[in-house]
Symmetry: C2
Subunit: 338 residues, 2 copies
Amino acid sequence: MPVSAEAAAPAAGEDALAALTALVRDDLEACNRLIVERMQSQVALIPQLAAHIVAAGGKRLRPLLTLAAARMAGYRGTRHVALAACVEFIHTATLLHDDVVDESALRRGQASANALFGNKPSVLVGDFLFARAFQLMVTDGSLEVLRILSEASATISEGEVLQLVIQNDTSSTEAQYLAVIEGKTAALFAAATEVGAVVADCGAEAQAALRAYGHNLGVAFQLVDDALDYSAEQERLGKTVGDDFREGKITLPVLLAFARGTEEERGFWRRTVEQREQSDEDLSMAIALMQKHRAFADTLGRARDYGAKALAALDRFDDGAEKRALADIVEFCISRAR
Amino acid sequence: MPVSAEAAAPAAGEDALAALTALVRDDLEACNRLIVERMQSQVALIPQLAAHIVAAGGKRLRPLLTLAAARMAGYRGTRHVALAACVEFIHTATLLHDDVVDESALRRGQASANALFGNKPSVLVGDFLFARAFQLMVTDGSLEVLRILSEASATISEGEVLQLVIQNDTSSTEAQYLAVIEGKTAALFAAATEVGAVVADCGAEAQAALRAYGHNLGVAFQLVDDALDYSAEQERLGKTVGDDFREGKITLPVLLAFARGTEEERGFWRRTVEQREQSDEDLSMAIALMQKHRAFADTLGRARDYGAKALAALDRFDDGAEKRALADIVEFCISRAR
């Protein structure tokens, strides 16, 4: 019974996430308390809406990275707790803004805050959380942290806008795609781990190494995410398969299948992704073409390359529970796509 | 020919704006150059969209306040130029986010960025400008400025959310309305003038006075704006009359007319503003009811009270061209509603 055995046993990656969470449990609980405390407002709709997304079963991956990175770099104080909350607030704000829809699209899976509350309240509550993040950083008092997270915020929005620009355009390049995921995902991962180094005051080289770890981990994470969107595994994670395809989002699996496809196959991609004329069988065809051209395998191979760079960036740090947990989290990010 | 004479001569208020602009012309030009420089991005859509709103004939009132406040408080350096740009970036970001629509509303007057480019790019470019503002503040290096403008940003979003909460609700209170305009408008006016005091390093009391000036000016400005929405004068300013009415926005003229109205008149407000069932003649009826109950006169009277407080806050500063210009700008904000 291989299937049920596999379903019962947690993946190696899930063990790694649980281990990381257990390792910094006290700090994470303090971070969660601060998040709930700082999302309060006299305007009751704000915590109501924020709670919907802040509490929505998030794994808190980014704040976990901040907490563990600070500890690995030798920090023994408590400043990293508030900075981890900043990172999560910025992440939450981008989720709320990323969910803005121009048409009244049918929402899939769990109802998004935007579907429940409307676009405009979601945008404004995102702004509130973004401002709260900066207020928390001001209280912390480090201009270096403010520099890192304001720059990351600008880069995130650039990545998100570029994603819109190349959407539905099969002539987009791999370099453009990489710029998108470096912006929309890797920038905040990199900032999350770098601020851990800043509070630990561990020197410019260690800070650059922790930034490199976060950046490469973030790229790997998004590459896997983009492969997962076409995988049945996605359903086990509670998400629907093919959302990217239906939106005509340009991701590496699409670019690889298009580049390696016959002229007839390219016609298929132009019709479905560019003109968004899709029938029920088209998703299966898209997946078949991706498998035919090894698009998934090569996307995951690319993710493993970035994962290896993330691991290498940890070399300079002393062995210990935090370093092992951060190393294992690389495997967690990649193994989601088994 | 009184009409053409009035159209030809600038209003006293417009003279005041021109005088303020002339007084800090060099600083304002430096500020405008910085705005154009810092809204650039490798993602070309960002400056394209930002230019649409940043360059859209804005009078730059908020950055003008920062520039003049700093000079009045004795500052002779150049830091206030970048901070004025921060204030304008934050203002622009809020405009882009305020224009998000939930339905595909017919856009009126000049096409908004959202109508031209779509909601989502507008939201993301707003995020970019917001992040850029914080990057500029980090370069400036004052945690006090960062504190003031991050707090203002949070307060703005709270005011905007509260505005949505009380929209279409005729049982809203004047206190709620005041909280809305203190948040969505006065918070940034107050921050704009306060950061002028911070760079001038003119002491806590002068800083509080400049903050009070900006706050009271902002409240007066928004009260007048809300009266103007029902005034033919609005058309001379290139805007359409009755936008607030059609959206069912709760402003002081509505609250006063409702509170002073007969039961039958309240039925009219409930139908038009609460249930948004409106016919072509309803706007004229709304204006007539507001006139009957002195809703405009009393809204403007309230604006004059706040204007007087703004003027009083200038008392402690030495006489000079900047102080006269800032005093005259109070009249500008109020006289728009002649």
